[in-house]
């Protein structure tokens, strides 16, 4: 595989290979070798047509630790805001010799379009496309869960994860449902019916409208951000009511299993889907997710760019 476009394209073996590689890389970056020469001379373009803090910085840090050259390109302040098409942008990048493009776009399928086209020959990495997928986020979430809760064994068999909140607008939820179930975890989606997408019945998950009945049974509570910027209509009566029924607060924290962890892909709406004391509690692994994000993205870049052939082929 040359591209990372969606979790749907990955086999569980490939996903585990990425997690194992990240494991070794985290040992390297925790240790004395901070900078590795592996991708020296490769050019990686961060093409972000949508706002992002941690994904862009995380990919940039990962690429730089592997000695690649990074070019940051955001839609604001570039010719994209003058109306340049994706095709022209891609061809420009190709002419400049980009070995890989990390793309975030508000249109679902933008990464796929870039990969399928003949506009450029480099690898394409999807860093979030519309409401479709965000594969690197799912991989870092799986890595964080494995690191905290799985002792022995390399997949997530037996782990029960609740994904709570704005499922309908969340590419993180889609990628996570695919990856976590692929790795053997059991997933329960918790949301008001208005925030669940149509067709959710066909997903390999359980669905609940009652957070309190689920929270005591799960190993992982993954809170999602309410994506106000994508909401054109009313999905719930008001913020207070949403917080009351679906927010994570001190009382719900007490109902969790003693070993259970709290995750959030960020950025958080503190006070809406998660209270400040829950986000900062000892159960919260939210900052670990950020740290792990860099090593998982290093693993992705290493596996896609360092070798010559397909991901998953062992010599």
């Amino acid at each position: 595989m040359r591209h990372l476009l969606s979790i749907a394209d990955l086999s569980s073996t490939q996903a585990i290979q990425i997690l194992d590689t990240a494991e070794e890389l985290s040992r390297v970056s925790d240790g004395p070798m901070k900078k590795l020469p592996t991708l020296r001379g490769r050019t990686i373009v961060n093409l972000f047509a949508e706002d992002s803090t941690r994904t862009r910085i995380s990919f940039e840090a990962a690429a730089k630790r592997l000695s690649a050259d990074v070019i940051n390109f955001s839609a604001k302040g570039s010719s994209v805001s003058k109306g340049e098409s994706l095709k022209d942008t891609a061809q420009t990048l190709q002419a400049m010799g980009a070995d890989a493009v990390i793309i975030r776009h508000s249109a679902s399928g933008a990464a796929q379009r870039l990969a399928d086209s003949q506009w450029m020959t480099g690898s394409v990495i999807n860093a979030g496309d519309g409401t479709h997928e965000h594969p690197s986020q799912a991989l870092l979430d799986a890595f964080t869960i494995r690191k905290n809760l799985v002792h022995g064994g390399n997949d997530l068999t037996g782990i029960h994860v609740a994904i709570v909140g704005d499922i309908i607008h969340s590419r993180v939820a889609r990628s996570n449902v695919l990856l976590l179930t692929k790795l053997g975890a059991h997933v329960t989606l918790v949301a008001p019916p208005t925030l669940l997408p149509t067709g959710v019945e066909s997903w390999p998950v359980a669905i609940s409208y009652d957070f309190d009945s689920v929270i005591g049974k799960v190993d992982v509570v993954m809170m999602l951000r309410i994506q106000l910027e994508r909401m054109s209509e009313l999905f719930f009566p008001n913020a207070r009511e949403y917080s009351h029924y679906f927010g994570l607060n001190r009382d719900r924290l007490k109902m969790m299993k003693p070993t259970a962890i709290v995750m959030h892909p960020g950025p958080m709406n503190r006070g809406l889907e998660i209270t400040a004391d829950s986000a900062d509690s000892a159960r919260s692994v939210i900052l670990q997710q950020v740290t792990n994000g860099v090593t998982v993205r290093m693993a992705i870049l290493y596996l896609l760019l360092a070798g010559s052939q397909e991901l998953g082929v062992q010599s």
């Binding site: 290979q17 194992d20 070794e24 004395p32 592996t38 070798g307 010559s308 062992q314």
Partner: protein, 198 residues
């Protein structure tokens, strides 16, 4: 570790069905004697085991380093610093092969700074692995000296690198394949020489 020119893996004439001529280059007792001799040589040159740190290059170099460490401990009666050094991320042939799985790097408690480092690998061939290991080591710190111990030196160096301690010099043709086996991994100790196709 199967050590041969990379091309011969994909060479159709190398496939099963073709009769492979195989000879035993180093049987188990001789392998043990070589490891014992190298241990003594290391101790002699470094005046004991106090200043040395053994770093094996995974997979088989790490096993060889553990064997040497056990032998040195038995001779000296004190613990010896022994770890592993994965060099995958420093290889110069990454672009020519599929991505490789990463192996663990474990640096023993006293680190590498001002230590006499003994790099340990099973077969010395082109010398490129050792070059990568020197680069990896340079990222970690500045050792007092770096020495190289190998079980087999098969020649065909592509870089100006030599070993300080050699179990056996085994002149080979480029077509031949050297296979080093350890009981921990393969159920027996042996070094065999196979006739591969060029």
């Amino acid at each position: 570790m199967i050590n041969s020119r990379p091309t011969s893996f994909n060479d159709p004439s190398c496939e099963a069905g073709k009769e492979i001529d195989m000879s035993l280059a180093l049987p188990a007792p001789d392998m043990d004697r070589a490891i014992t001799r190298i241990s003594h040589e290391i101790l002699e040159r470094n005046s004991g085991s106090e200043s040395i740190t053994l770093l094996g290059i995974p997979t088989r170099g790490a096993h060889l380093a553990a064997r040497l460490a056990a032998k040195i401990e038995a001779i000296e009666g004190r613990a010896v610093q022994c770890g592993t050094l994965d060099i995958t991320l420093h290889r110069d042939d990454l672009r020519m092969r599929p991505p490789r799985a990463l192996m663990p790097t474990t640096i023993p408690s006293m680190g590498v700074e001002n230590r006499n480092i003994i790099l340990v690998d099973d077969v010395l061939f082109s010398g490129r692995t050792i070059r990568a290991a020197l680069d990896a080591l340079g990222e970690i710190g500045r050792p007092a000296s770096v020495q190289l111990a190998v079980l087999i030196d098969r020649g065909h160096r592509q870089l100006p690198i030599r070993a300080d301690y050699v179990g056996k010099n085994l002149p080979t043709s480029l077509a031949q394949i050297i296979k080093v086996q350890f009981t921990e991994l393969d159920g027996l100790d042996a070094v065999t020489l196979e006739e591969g196709a060029l």
